[in-house]
């Protein structure tokens, strides 16, 4: 019955027999560490490797000890491999969960240069020097050396490497789902609960991390449910559920996070098991599920026993051995020792025996009786009661054990040591309910002193724990819980169904009370003798835990961080309870008093790609474009991001540099006319009886008397008196205003205004509507602006008498309805022309055509910045940073003295506002007119003072101004207003020092003579 393959790769010498879940007619070739192997459809990488008699699959984290496959599921701590090549490579995957496919490529990790000869294993010889906390103790002093140590340590200790090419080429998706009842875990109890719930008509989602439903039953051979083999019962239920429209079945899906208010996150591995991944399907899909009720049926994890050499390849969990035999038809060894503190492992002994292995049972308990033991004895299997494996030996695989009689509490060796040869140890230290999801959701735990495990007590979210994860290891008891939970959960969501009968289960009766034996003696003092591992993934030994306790790390959370036990990709699924128990023993305390560490998501590692989903590339963040964008692109604009908007930055022509292009644009706006796309400015329509009063409270200046059709500049403060936003607001009608805000501030200002209206002044009758995108805006600026507007077909009189500065008129341009604001951010004659957004491009092209004869020049945001700086106009967020008052900006003129209140008024009267070392806005002229002082440069009064120098403040805006013919800058300097005329210095990184005179901020046309063109 041994399958022999003639093709490439070694024969599957350990494949024992045909089993339903392995298709021996479907051979699959794969590569591990450069060698070809063959497995079958239905295999995991672990089962296929074991079939090929490969046990050594990795090196350990710290000591680089040889490690093998220990488990058969997601709790596997050792068999972490790197799957795939190049950009597709993914490290730290558990071989026990990878379904093999044709051409699979895998490598072992953490070994140099090869798995069998690993230079890092020297750490194991030097183990005396690597106790718990070794790195902390040794490498922290001197602190300056840590960076160097760290590099070496990180290389030597650690897990797999990520792909060299950091662009993950796979597609990942996310989706939301809602259900009445989410069942986490599709083993016997999960299926039963899902069926009970689904019969009521409730919307049910059933998720399981394995590729098929059935849970641990998939690894059993001898169980019957409802008089049929357990897996027939499973497939009948799955078939029934699959046919129900209110049920969603999610195999290969791990519920890895349980958050507030029954929000759960799941990772579905959609195409991981396929040899090629269809482009239209995601590799993995993140499910974000909101459930009314949750039923947790996560099962339990078997615990290892802590004996010397327990980490050798060939030392496996007893339940996993059963799974490899029964599910995969692979017997992982021929000479097996079963070592246990409980009844359950006897079933492994039976299955090993039936698979043809030679078996000895070493039971830590002095006595154990019952049908299981009888069956084992009747099979002729040797049972050694009151015995323990005190040490296991081997190089790359276990080869020999020392067995000795032990006292009742397994603390002392009581007789002679017997040596036995073996190639497999099946160990069982009892079961730990998987309380992870329950605990993530802040459910409480209680210690069960009979079953020796923590199990759920009170739940925090609306949820139920059933079956093994509830500490109900007996299948019949678990199924009863399942029916009860399914019924109650359905009822809680308003659904009802007849209660299903709990099916009969045929299984050997067994006790679920293991013997407390946390650390098996080996005849040596603690810290001496061969290592007995508690946490396999993090190389934490029993003596490490005891040492940490002696050194004062008595809190379990401290223990975890000091020894790293329970960390890593497995988060201590197999190790935590053993570590706790050993800690409790060292402290002379009870286990429940020691408690557990906090359980956090994810339950198993989840790919970050699935969390990002499709929010990558051009879907990473929405890019907002104006209606004139096509024109800008067609005319060679370069762009800059302003919030989510893309704004034209400058329009280089014929190989111009940025500086040349900006100079040209800035010049044109002052000599003829420039055209700016100002569509992104925030615009808010304000209507209502109290609109003017509302503005009075919002802005620092007064608004009641603003005439209809008139515009006014306003400064908005937060209630701490600091400048928040600015803009021009226009009275359209008695109760109707049009506000503009900065581009970046648009959304925030609207929210701010709504907040005050709704929460502080609900008595005001005002409605706000965002019209930012309703209007496309072109700003025409320069001495020829009026003529161009005339030629473009404006239908009203533009003379300053009829249409003065700071007013608005509605009219038409070439038939396009427009609102035109005579406001200026350049100091030139300027019109902000608003048309319905759909006509934005038409307006732009019309103005460009009309301005052609005048040399109209489109300009971008950089020229806009220079033009306003020439006038000394501030930009909120550039000159200001949330700590700047109007006075700091020299803008006292805009703060009303007469209004009883406005936002920020009281704060402006605080004593702290009068400090003379507040940073204040000043202009700067560099001593070298060709030098532009870098923005952000810090000013000092004396460049020769000792370090650290006394900083005065920083340059906020700095440009070359072609209209002034020299560089100009603005800065926020402590007590700046009083420093006018003085010289300040800017020490640069290269050692040079720039020098500048403090001046007024209005660099160009300080009298404002150009405003009417």
């Amino acid at each position: 019955m041994v399958s022999r393959s003639a093709a490439s790769g070694s024969p599957q010498t350990q494949r024992q027999r045909a089993v339903a879940r392995i298709d021996q007619n479907a051979p699959i070739n794969f590569t591990f560490d450069g060698r070809s192997y063959r497995g079958f459809a239905g295999d995991t990488l672990a089962s296929a490797l074991l079939a090929n008699n490969v046990h050594l699959v990795g090196r350990s984290f710290k000591y680089h000890r040889p490690r093998g496959i220990m488990a058969a599921g997601s709790e596997e701590p050792n068999a972490l491999i790197r799957l795939g090549k190049g950009a597709y490579a993914e490290p730290n995957l558990r071989a026990t969960q990878i379904e093999i496919f044709e051409g699979l490529y895998a490598e072992s990790q953490n070994r140099t240069p090869s798995l069998k000869f690993d230079i890092g294993a020297i750490n194991s010889v030097l183990d005396r020097f690597f106790p718990a906390g070794f790195y902390y103790k040794t490498f922290m002093w001197p602190a300056s050396m840590w960076m160097r140590y760290e590099h070496v340590i990180r290389h030597a200790a650690g897990l797999g490497k990520v792909a060299d090419d950091h662009n993950d080429p796979d597609r990942y998706e996310k989706t939301h789902a809602h259900c009445d009842i989410l069942v986490a875990g599709g083993g016997a109890t999960g299926l039963m609960a899902a069926l009970q719930a689904a019969k009521s008509g409730a919307r049910v989602i059933l998720a399981d991390e394995q590729n098929e439903f059935g849970g641990w039953l998939l690894g059993e051979a001898d169980i019957k449910i409802a008089d049929v083999p357990a897996l027939s019962w499973v497939s009948d239920i799955v078939t029934e559920l699959a046919a129900m429209p209110n049920v969603t079945l999610l195999p290969r899906t791990t519920v890895f996070g349980y958050l507030d208010h029954n929000y759960l996150t799941l990772n579905e591995r959609v195409t991981d098991h396929l040899p090629s991944r269809p482009a239209h399907l995601p590799r993995q899909r993140l499910w974000k599920i909101r459930a009314q009720q949750v039923i947790i049926a996560q099962g339990a994890h078997e615990r290892p026993l802590v004996f010397a050499g327990n980490d050798l390849p060939g030392v496996m969990l007893a339940g996993a051995v059963r799974t490899y035999i029964n599910r995969y038809g692979v017997c992982p060894g021929q000479r097996a020792i079963v070592v246990c503190n409980n009844d359950d492992a006897y079933r492994t002994a039976l299955d090993l025996h039936h698979a043809g292995a030679y078996v000895v049972v070493t039971d830590l308990r002095a006595t154990a009786t019952g049908p299981l033991m009888r069956a084992v004895r009747n099979a002729g299997i040797e049972i050694l009661h009151g015995h323990a494996i005190i040490a296991a030996y081997g190089t790359h695989r276990v080869a020999r054990v020392e067995i000795a009689p032990v006292d009742d509490s397994v603390t002392a060796i009581t007789g002679d040591i017997d040596h036995r040869d073996c190639d497999l140890i099946a160990m069982s230290g009892g079961l730990s309910p998987a309380v992870h999801l329950h605990s993530q959701a802040r459910g409480k735990l209680q210690w069960d002193d009979a079953k020796l495990c923590f199990r759920p007590s009170a739940t925090h979210e609306p949820s139920f724990n059933i079956g093994a994860c509830n500490g109900s290891f007996d299948l019949v008891a678990g199924l009863k819980e399942a029916v009860r939970a399914g019924t109650k959960a359905a009822a809680a969501t308003g659904h009802k169904a007849t209660t299903l009968d709990t099916p009969d289960v045929q299984i050997h009766k067994q006790s679920w009370r293991p013997l407390a034996a946390w650390k098996i003696p080996n005849g040596h003092a603690s810290g001496r003798g061969p290592k007995a591992f508690v946490d396999f993934q993090n190389d934490v030994t029993a003596s490490d835990v005891s040492l940490a306790a002696r050194e004062g790390y008595q809190s379990v959370e401290h223990l975890k961080r000091y020894t790293t036990t329970g960390m890593g990709t497995d988060q201590g699924k197999t190790s935590n309870i053993n570590a706790l128990a050993i800690l409790a023993d060292a402290l002379g305390n009870e286990i429940p008093a020691v408690g557990t560490t906090t359980f956090r998501m994810p339950y198993t590692p989840s790919n970050i790609g699935a969390i990002a989903g499709r929010d990558i590339g051009d879907l990473f963040d929405p890019v907002r474009l104006t209606r004139m964008d096509d024109w800008h692109r067609a005319h060679g604009a370069t762009f800059e991001h302003v919030g989510q908007w893309m704004r034209a930055w400058y329009f280089p022509q014929d190989g111009e540099t940025m500086q040349q292009a900006v100079n040209r644009e800035v010049k044109a706006a002052r000599t003829t006319a420039g055209l700016l796309d100002a569509s992104t400015l925030g615009k808010i329509d304000i209507r209502g009886r109290d609109a003017a009063e509302f503005l009075n409270r919002l802005y620092t200046n007064a608004w009641s008397k603003l005439g209809i059709g008139k515009c006014r500049y306003g400064l908005m403060l937060k209630d701490d008196g600091m400048v928040m936003d600015d803009g021009v607001t226009t009275r359209i009608g008695e109760n109707h205003f049009h506000m503009t805000t900065t581009t970046g501030g648009a959304a925030g200002v609207l929210d701010w205004m709504e907040e005050w209206l709704q929460t502080e002044w609900p008595d005001l009758e005002v409605y706000l509507t965002s019209v930012t995108e309703q209007w496309a805006v072109a700003t025409l600026s320069g001495p020829n602006a009026g003529k161009i507007l005339q030629d473009a077909g404006i239908d009203f009189d533009l003379s300053p008498a009829e249409f003065p500065f700071m007013s608005m008129k509605e009219g038409h341009i070439g038939g396009l309805a427009a609102r035109i604001f005579r406001i200026s951010f350049t100091g030139e004659l300027s019109y902000e022309i608003n048309v319905a957004a759909r006509h934005g491009l038409a307006l732009w092209t019309r103005l460009m055509a009309a301005g052609k004869a005048y040399g109209i020049t489109p300009y971008g945001t950089e020229a806009m910045h220079v033009l306003r700086a020439e006038k000394g106009f501030i930009i909120v967020g550039q000159e200001t940073d949330g700590s700047v008052t109007p006075h700091d900006l020299g803008m006292d003129w805009i703060v009303s003295k007469t209004k009883p209140d406005f936002i920020g008024k009281r704060a402006l009267a605080r004593h702290a506002m009068e400090y003379d070392d507040r940073k204040q806005l000043v202009g700067l002229l560099c001593s070298d007119p060709a030098t532009v002082i870098p923005e952000g440069a810090h000013a000092v009064l004396d460049p020769n003072q000792p370090l650290p120098m006394k900083m005065l403040g920083q340059v906020t805006s700095s440009y070359f101004s072609p209209n002034c013919g020299r560089s100009i800058a603005m800065a926020m300097l402590k007590g700046g207003h009083a420093l006018k005329g003085q010289t300040v210095f800017f020490p640069m990184l290269d050692g040079s020092v720039l020098k500048a005179e403090i001046v007024d901020t209005a660099f160009f046309d300080p009298k404002g003579a150009r405003i009417d063109g």
Partner: protein
């Protein structure tokens, strides 16, 4: 360039998605295309604020009754009134009708506390249809979109991936999606991407 008002501009102007061409991706499994979608070009949109007298005026002028409760919309032919907030509604109307309706409403409502604002160019409406429309939306929207939960006539403001949206269920397999015009290209791209596994057709 001397101008005269006789050269009439193109009043239709450009829609939010004017620059995006039609595209199709077949259903990889064969069979029906999962999502057929396109811009409802130039649909008129008025934001309505107010309480007293607003409902009466809207009924009289547009023929639409106000939705009886939150998260609903009410239709009369091509016109829909969508509940947005306790005193806020969105009126969708035939292309080009918005100005006339706005003027009529302004003149009919006597209360001082109301606001009718033209947001036709501020918002973009997309029509979504197909057997996979709910599955596609669920990839980006946290609302429970099960046909028993989000029935025809229901609407909601929520998020679709990184964009704010208003969703209106027109039928089991048909929605109207409204977003800001500057987010429309993102939403269009997102929908096409999310519908890849079901196949899609985007009609410009």
């Amino acid at each position: 360039m001397a101008n005269s008002s006789s050269s009439r501009p193109d009043f239709s102007g450009q829609t939010a998605l004017a620059g995006i061409a039609s595209s199709t991706s077949a259903n990889p499994d064969g069979g029906t295309i999962g999502l057929v979608f396109g811009e409802m070009a130039h649909l008129g949109k008025l934001n309505l604020r107010g309480q007293n007298g607003l409902a009466k005026a809207v009924k009289a002028i547009t023929g639409c009754t106000f939705p009886p409760k939150a998260n609903r919309f009410q239709s009369a032919g091509e016109r829909h009134v969508i509940w947005l907030a306790p005193d806020e509604y969105l009126l969708l109307c035939e292309a080009g009708k918005e100005q006339e309706l706005q003027d009529s409403l302004n003149s009919m409502i006597t209360s001082s506390h109301f606001a009718i604002t033209d947001v036709s160019d501020s918002l973009c409406a997309l029509s979504l249809r197909g057997p996979s429309v709910r599955a596609v939306l669920a990839k980006g929207c946290g609302l429970d979109l099960h046909p028993d939960q989000f029935t025809a006539g229901q609407s909601a403001q929520s998020l679709l991936a990184l964009s704010a949206v208003t969703l209106m269920a027109v039928a089991d397999d048909a929605f109207i999606l409204i977003c800001r015009t500057s987010f429309a290209p993102y939403v269009q791209r997102w929908l096409a991407d999310a519908a890849l596994e079901y196949g899609y057709q985007y009609k410009a």
